[in-house]
Symmetry: D2
Subunit: 481 residues, 4 copies
């Protein structure tokens, strides 16, 4: 069966502007023709949808999501055995929000691949998934890289199982090895069926806020070579100016959150390196409101870092780097979102500024980068064509061109007249099929309401105990830390 | 329908010895006759079971179990919403092990009462439950009384819910109140339908190993009065010689683990007080082997405490106190039982010495007290008649007498010839019905096997990281604590 | 040599008002006559000081100071071997501030007694000291009662030495013993030469904010009896309504900070018990400004406690209890006073409201209690006669009467016309001798200026590192707790 | 005045063997002649010492000591203001033990330079000191690099002062900067007068046991260039195979503890790189006994690391690298040496195997490397000539040659016949002057006896409290961690 979309302004991502009055003909999930209605040959059984007054753009992509982001001990216990369900829920939230393809850059490999394959085979609906599994070099959720408090609190049985699920043979252990030996381990990991490789150029949780270098330049090159030899793209987790430079020079196809370089702005030399090469530059920007809000709840030191990340985002636009939209998008459990620890993170901001939310963070991204001076067409490409290019899937995805997979978003408002308009989603078409957005997610778990308090809670709250420490007494230091 | 048990030696708990060749006739769940076969009038539709060569004793009781004992954060998350199932499983494990009635002295009140009622109404099989809910004065599982590390690790949403479920209006908060006000709160709590009251005479987890006094003598008397006014028995959690003495004088019907008084032996005066009154004395004894084993893994200070507890157990036997069998019996999750933290507790001992296990700890108790010199008939009474007396249910339970509920254990070996023989359970009869022990527990959860390791675990274990701290370096103190 | 003080208004603490134009004749340190100048017989070598226009009151006393209050690990290390010097400094600060006698209710016994004796023998100048050493039942500075973080950070060698210095045989260990055995230990401790006994009716640092009971009523009575048998007064540390009631009934001569009873106000029955007996009631009041200030930095729970303590102070005035001035007065090291942990304590308030400062807190006390409605003469007596009575030293101290030790404060302004006027100290006379206040403290240590930053500090501060945790990342939970 | 040493076997470090019957003539602190007695022209006022039967070797050197090693919070508080005294004591302990020159590779710069200069100017006696101050890239004693528990326990005032004293402008902060900016900071630091530069190629305390890379290769080269431009040698702190390789390639003059590379042995390529270049290879070896002992108290993971370090030591000997003696030699406070945390470090071994002790660890080194197969003359050179070469002070030090500074050790036994014989020190001559070894250290502080327990300690120990946690109870998890 064929599908004909008529009447809309088509913004194909190739041209600099939208073109009015073009129809798009889709067959077997791919675009077979784009043109004036009169010029098209329409097969007999074609269904036609009139999108007059609407705007059609390529399906949005996200270069960095975590469909399973809940590394918190409590949530990992609670949802053990249901990882697939949570990932499917997230893939449906993403699709509903206009993302037809997402690149999952850290998570439990087997579960991610299982859901990826089910979506691919049409067993379930969801955003198209490409995934990396673990970030090469990171230890698991219950380790110095994420939450080192848990060993000793969780049972060894569970702690080991969770860490193994995330890490397999690719953890911090690799830092001890020679470049060749690291290459061997990466090759093994690739063999399990991941779609691309992500490694740590900088540490995640080594007590130095991201400043440590995780792998030497030679080891980074060895990892890149293994990925490329297997035909996969490769990217790095970076968080300092040297970690960034090293991974570009090592040959990465893209670099994650490259505007986050601690308190130091990216030097001109590295900006040029990015602009001249083909390496995709993922940026994590905050809106001006978001930055102002965050400033309230963080220390001066942290603020210095955010200021530098903002300057970097502006400089990257100005330097001409190939910028990619991404946001670590994920769905935290609702009880986690209420926690103080979420404050001071980009997820703790008010919803309209919260960069990291899977359902809405990409809209924040677009508004934030618009504020910083990115042009309308560049915004669109950051969310579509650039991602496809960097991940080397541009033969199939990223623009509206004949021969490509028919992933499209239909908007009520013109996205080239304001980033805000990306939120006016009228319809989502993935692989040539109209998505029933209202049905998504089909089985809400993390997006469901929190259960009501238990009956005992009211009595309890009325008679809470009054603390640990003798009030006011300056000699009792227990419980003050 | 009636049931006639013939051929066995009947040890009724009243007489000092067993009587051969007595038959027991049961109707409507109660004993209607005991006597020589020829003397009994047997109704028409009576089923007869020949227990020739066997020994029939009253159903065993346990004066202190925790059908839900898993206060560990991980297990509480994992089994949220399934408390009833875990309690039912435990009640079935208890019944299978010969305990026809158990007194649950700390746990989640609503879930315990729900299972209690289902068993009472015959909806499910299990040991008869009587329960107290919270120990008056204790805060919840995630507090200074149990595990103060969890607030800050668990979400506030969950931490509050769990603490509320255990505590309601009866936590540490009560320590701030006047005796009258504490009485009011206890009265409210009783109103929810608990079977007896347990309060803290000593602290559980106040950083002083049980030495702090939780409530003044006047407050203790106020609590006792409220319980008695409502027709309930009342007991205390004690762990020091003064905490013990105070609660006996306050009028408790029984005192828990009264041999545990820190490093100090119970003074003669208090032994006499116990012996002369009607207050039941729960003892937690270890076998000689168990004590020797424990000594290996604990500090000298802790050992001093265990030595005193052993001397107390012996002195209580000698002084003539009404001793009750109990053991904090519960089922820990299998992954928890593997944890180092279980070592150094009475659950960490080898199975044949492990006092605290629900399925077998009562047998340990009987052998331990036999070692310390308790007579065979006193052992039996400690496990049956004394518990019924102290809990004031001796009109119905505790001995084999006409009119009482037909709870009986049939043993292959003579229990009066060795405590070991209690383990030779041939059959369990509860409320006049033969229990299908092989079917219990019907739905194993905590008693099920641990799941096999996930596929990733093997790879992970082969490439574990090598620690946190530069090996050997005496100047790096991180990770040493 | 004799001393004649002329011209002042004498407020002797006995009469309800001051009497103008009285002279006071002092010989050998005691008052030998008070009267109109013409009525007195003046020895030949008498020195006369004209205090016309001034006001003479009895030397101020403080019923609860800690001349050595720095239980913080860092300060204990720093001043090891210099405890005597710090205590002498504090005794001189106290004297300079008008306190001719102070009762030290917790500190290192040997050092306190050594300074006490040197002052007594005239070897050094300072406030007259009476001391209790440890609070019976408390463990040392590096324990659950004060700072449980230190064992494991400090060396065992030092930790044991410090704890031993404070505790000797009187620590938490006593909670395990029978009342008789506790009595024996207290008798031993008295034998070392302390001046009075202080014991814990409530816990200090047992994770329950002061709510636990430390000793049973019977043990409290045993302690009181030992003290009285030795001719010493006895007092308790209380922090709950039951802890307070129990210690009054046990026979204490005075009770410390009896207005601090957690979130619960002292019931009428206990107020009456205090008013009818002879037990001195130490109150720790805050000014209205102080309370308002504190409210800003504490939780709602803590505030509930402060509100109750304020209501208690007002009710104690109204009920007619014998109220004593005291404030836990001590001198914290200046670097400690800058720490955040001091916030939220009564020492962290602005200087004019900070109750706990040795040099000025008694003035805060007088203003605070004036605000709450205490009459001018009662304020004076709370700071003089009442303390002497409760401590049973009123034969020698507390009022200006013939035969008493000549401890006097000369004020520029009339203290009966405003509590603020106690700060207008013109002269201090102790034991009949004029104190050279300007010379005190003779060797400033804790009252000295903080040393200037080291030369390296400027460079360091310009290049501080930026933290532990990847900023903004909600998945890295290290360093968030 | 001149000095003539006669009769000894001279092992000059140049020849492969000792030469009997040579005399050494010293003038103005330098060797002016070595030869047969008859061939020498002896000035008139020459003092002659007959060392017949003895063995004269060059003064021993140590390529890595920490004259101030006590970074423990307690000791830093205790000895504040006395750093110079502790350093002087250590320099005298070193000299007494035969080390005429020591290279201090981490410590408080100003204090080290002050003592260095006093010794240089003859104001005090001691080993010749060359020092680096901080290790470029490390944060201070109270940081993630050493002891992250202290901020929050120590006062901010003190914590900042100590960290600043060690770090100045050279801490972790540098990891954020570009290579050029790091170079600028290093240049500034050099300007304060250090003797050589040491930087971190691997982390010290970043939660990954030394595996993280601290600086990129480009930054490492920038640091090396700054040092060389200033005429200083430069070395790295390494602890992984990649960290080691990177710093050799960056141009280091020597690398510290290069045999410590985690669980991985140094690959052949890197061994060759070392052997072919001029980079000095510091080795930290343990004796076989020491290794066996250590194995008892450490985990399997740690043991894997020690095994690799042992294999590395052997391979470095075999490969022909220029090996240097060093041992992190320092004097820990005696109370620290009793702590459990010292166990599992190379200082916690029995004295004859304890590599890290300043007074004896170099003897352990010599015996350990002898066990591993190093030849007698190579052992001598590792302790003398090689160190002088790597530090580029071989024009003055390292061998007994005419024109060099007269640093000599006189031994009773022949060091070429057994490493044990280095301990038979008969005399130490530094700068041509005989050292009065018996007088050293002149003012023992850390080498003094621990003070006796205070009087209160005996009473305290007899009545210690019995812990925090209810013994045996598996539900109370407080105090178990």
């Amino acid at each position: 069966m064929s599908l004909l979309l008529t009447g809309a302004t088509v913004i194909d991502g190739v041209s600099e502007t939208g073109i009015d009055g073009r129809s798009i003909l889709v067959e077997n999930g791919r675009i077979v023709a784009i043109g004036r209605p009169d010029d098209l040959t329409i097969p007999a059984d074609t269904e036609t949808i009139d999108f007059s007054g609407k705007f059609i753009i390529p399906g949005l992509m996200n270069a960095n999501v975590h469909l399973f982001i809940n590394a918190l001990f409590e949530t990992l216990v609670r949802y053990e055995g249901r990882y697939d369900d949570l990932i499917a829920e997230a893939a449906q939230v993403a699709l509903r929000a206009g993302m037809t393809t997402v690149f999952d850059t850290w998570g439990p490999r087997r579960a991610l691949m299982a859901v990826r394959d089910k979506i691919e085979q049409g067993e379930i609906v969801g955003s198209r998934i490409r995934c990396a599994g673990n970030i090469i070099g990171f230890d698991g959720p219950f380790s110095g890289d994420f939450d080192s408090r848990i060993p000793g609190i969780g049972t060894t049985h569970f702690v080991d199982r969770v860490n193994a699920t995330w890490v397999e043979n690719t953890g911090r252990h690799l830092m001890w090895l020679t470049p060749e030996a690291v290459g061997d381990e990466v090759r093994q990991y690739i063999g399990h069926g991941i779609d691309f490789v992500k490694y740590a150029s900088n540490e995640h949780g080594g007590t130095s806020a991201g400043a440590f270098i995780q792998f030497s330049e030679r080891t980074q090159r060895a990892i890149v070579e293994e990925a490329h030899r297997a035909g996969l793209t490769v990217q790095s987790h970076t968080s300092s100016v040297e970690g960034l430079r090293m991974s570009i020079e090592a040959g990465c196809d893209l670099v994650q959150h490259c505007n986050m370089t601690g308190p130091t702005e990216i030097p001109r030399e590295t900006l040029d390196l990015l602009a001249q090469g083909e390496c995709g530059a993922v940026v994590f920007p905050l809106t001006d409101h978001g930055l102002a809000h965050l400033k309230e709840s963080i220390s001066d030191h942290e603020w210095t870092m955010w200021k530098a990340s903002d300057a970097n985002a502006r400089n990257l636009i100005e330097s001409g780097a190939m910028i990619l939209l991404a946001n670590d998008g994920g769905i935290f459990a609702p009880e986690v979102m209420q926690e103080p620890l979420i404050k001071g993170t980009w997820n703790g901001l008010p919803e309209e500024e919260a960069l990291g939310r899977l359902a809405s963070g990409h809209f924040v991204w677009l508004r934030a980068m618009e504020e910083k001076g990115m042009s309308p067409i560049d915004l669109l490409r950051a969310a579509t064509r650039n991602i496809a290019k960097a991940y080397k899937v541009d033969a199939d995805l990223g623009t509206l061109e004949v021969g490509k997979i028919a992933d499209m978003i239909v908007l009520d408002e013109d996205p080239l007249r304001g980033a805000k308009n990306y939120e006016s989603i009228h319809a989502v078409i993935k692989g040539g099929a109209l998505v029933d957005r209202d049905a998504l997610p089909e089985r809400p778990i993390l997006t469901a309401e929190l259960p009501a308090p238990v009956e005992e809670e009211a009595r309890f709250k009325r008679s809470l105990h009054h603390g640990e420490r003798l009030p006011g007494c300056p000699t009792c230091l227990n419980g003050t830390h």
